[in-house]
């Protein structure tokens, strides 16, 4: 009886997973069939199985892990710069009226602009290699972080600031021990917004300027009409985006475990 019930729950959870994934399975099946039956030329759409098989030679040639690491390095470096600058600028805007007056109009003006337009400028300043891409990532992501840090810092109740002051907390202590923890929920939302921006900027900069990484390898494969390779990198980009978003959610749960709601 127990075994049967267990078998039943397993089969029902498998069934649920199938129902949840059926559009993806259907899509994969239609893709495979359309390509196998010759409705589309393989140079435009190779069968899914060919794409999956393409992972093996790419992995053997060392063309899988290294581009991922290069792209992740650029993304992480740009994000780190954006987080540090964003937090400092956001907190100063919240605390110092002059800084807010000076930067608020400039940020409001720059926020909606397509940051990728600055890539030619950054290439001129920082060269064609890593640095111009890292700076583009930082420049793209710094605005959401400034806004998140500013919003977080302005939500700290004045009573808490007074209380900390009354207990002899200095300026730095106020920032580190009161304002930063209180801004964490807002900052984590900023991270969730900023991370996809960082990935897109990295891949885009690599496609435009070359120099390896997933974007660079992908555009190279496209130029040589190696369509299965293009799809391999596309799938890796999809998986990277998905895993990083999952990681950010986990990180948020961990960092904010003391925070209600």
């Amino acid at each position: 009886m127990m075994a049967m019930r267990r078998a039943h729950t397993i089969s029902s959870s498998v069934w649920h997973a199938l129902v949840a994934a059926y559009p993806l399975i259907l899509l994969a099946a239609v893709w495979e069939a359309a390509a196998r039956l010759g409705y589309v030329r393989p140079v435009f759409l190779p069968p899914l199985s060919t794409v999956i098989a393409q992972f093996v030679p790419l992995a053997r040639a060392g063309d899988l892990v290294e581009p991922v690491l290069i792209s992740l390095y650029r993304t992480a470096a740009g994000l780190a710069i954006a987080i540090v600058i964003g937090i400092v600028v956001g907190f100063f805007m919240a605390r110092v009226r002059f800084v807010r007056w000076l930067l608020d109009p400039l940020i409001a003006f720059s926020f909606p602009s397509p940051k990728v337009a600055f890539l030619p400028v950054f290439i001129l300043w920082f060269g064609i290699d890593h640095l111009s891409k890292i700076v583009l990532v930082a420049f793209t992501c710094v605005f959401p972080f400034i806004v998140a840090a500013y919003a977080g810092a302005t939500t700290v109740p004045t009573n808490q600031l007074w209380a900390a002051r009354a207990m002899g907390t200095g300026n730095l202590g106020l920032l580190w021990r009161v304002i930063l923890p209180a801004s964490l929920p807002s900052l984590m939302s900023g991270v969730r917004v900023g991370v996809p921006y960082a990935l897109v900027s990295t891949f885009t900069a690599e496609m435009i300027a070359g120099g390896g990484g997933l974007g660079g390898e992908m555009i190279l494969a496209q130029r040589y009409f190696e369509t299965p390779t293009v799809f391999v990198y596309l799938l890796i980009m999809l998986a990277t985006g998905y895993l990083i978003d999952f990681g950010v959610l986990r990180l948020r749960d961990y960092v904010l475990r003391w925070h209600e709601g």
């Binding site: 129902v19 949840a20 994934a21 059926y22 559009p23 993806l24 899509l27 140079v43 435009f44 007056w101 000076l102 930067l103 608020d104 109009p105 400039l106 003006f109 720059s110 909606p112 602009s113 397509p114 940051k115 990728v116 337009a117 600055f118 890539l119 030619p120 400028v121 290439i123 001129l124 300043w125 996809p196 990935l199 897109v200 891949f203 885009t204 496609m207 435009i208 974007g215 992908m218 555009i219 494969a221 496209q222 009409f225 369509t227 293009v230 799809f231 990198y233 596309l234 980009m237 999809l238 985006g241 998905y242 990083i244 978003d245």
Partner: protein, 260 residues
């Protein structure tokens, strides 16, 4: 002080930071610390901007880029809003598109550009389809949440008054989710410029993104900076127009729902 001079003072105080920024730029450019080829002076960029402003072909390139981004945006809205609305009202549609949205949500959309170039060639078609795909998700997600968030009591009241399904959608669900859809539009507008310009920088024969690279490669850096400035100004104006139009459309709604 009367209200006019207060408003003037407020506007002046908002413009002053830009003036300070330009002064700082000019100071750095003239100080000789940085090679003038790397940082043209404000005057050089301004005169390049004026020169571009008098140049008809510059407007042609701008029109090409904006045509691609806004055309792709319109396609994204035309496909995304019905999908989002369908997902909100029908479990079957939600069951089909829900997993697809979840699976593609974290895909960096520029990843599709090489593939689209392969399929549609270099040009406006591949550019607009790339913009469409990138603007699709904001429209789907915001429309879905907008309609799913419509208070049930509105739907029941309308049904009780004998409103049929078609009128329910047009007269109740869509107006009640207008605010969410317009927020999605503002986000999608930002994406549309990024993708259109990025696609032009990756591969194109025309458009402002291509033009900027031509200026960069030929060493006309003052013109390159002028083109970046022009894009920033136009993107800002487009964003403000979207906000103003949204607020005008939403003038019947609560004041706290206005966009910033």
């Amino acid at each position: 002080m009367n209200t006019v001079s207060i408003t003037l003072l407020q506007q002046f105080s908002q413009i002053l930071p830009f003036a300070l920024f330009l002064v700082a730029w000019q100071g750095v450019a003239k100080s000789g610390l940085i090679d003038p080829t790397f940082l043209p002076s404000v005057g050089a960029v301004a005169s390049a901007l004026v020169d571009l402003g008098a140049n008809k072909s510059f407007y042609t390139e701008l029109a090409v880029t904006f045509g691609r981004s806004l055309g792709g945006l319109a396609l994204g809205a035309a496909v995304g809003i019905p999908i989002g609305a369908g997902m909100a009202v029908s479990p079957a549609i939600n069951g089909f598109f829900g997993p697809l949205v979840k699976a593609t949500y974290s895909l960096p959309k520029t990843a599709l550009i090489p593939l689209l170039i392969l399929w549609l060639g270099i040009g406006s078609a591949s550019n607009m389809v790339a913009v469409m795909f990138s603007t699709l998700l904001p429209f789907v997600v915001y429309t879905y949440h907008g309609i799913a968030g419509v208070p049930q009591i509105l739907v029941w009241s309308a049904r009780a008054m004998g409103v049929n399904e078609r009128r329910l959608l047009w007269k109740v669900l869509l107006p009640a989710s207008q605010h969410a859809i317009l927020t999605g539009l503002r986000i999608a507008l930002g994406f549309s410029f990024v993708i259109a310009i990025a696609a032009e920088m990756i591969a194109a024969h025309t458009g402002i993104g291509k033009l900027m690279f031509i200026y960069g490669e030929s060493g006309s850096y003052d013109y390159m900076f002028a083109a970046v400035t022009a894009i920033m100004i136009l993107a800002y104006i487009a964003d403000r127009i979207t906000v103003e139009v949204s607020n005008h459309l939403m003038r019947w709604d609560d004041i706290e729902n206005r966009l910033g």
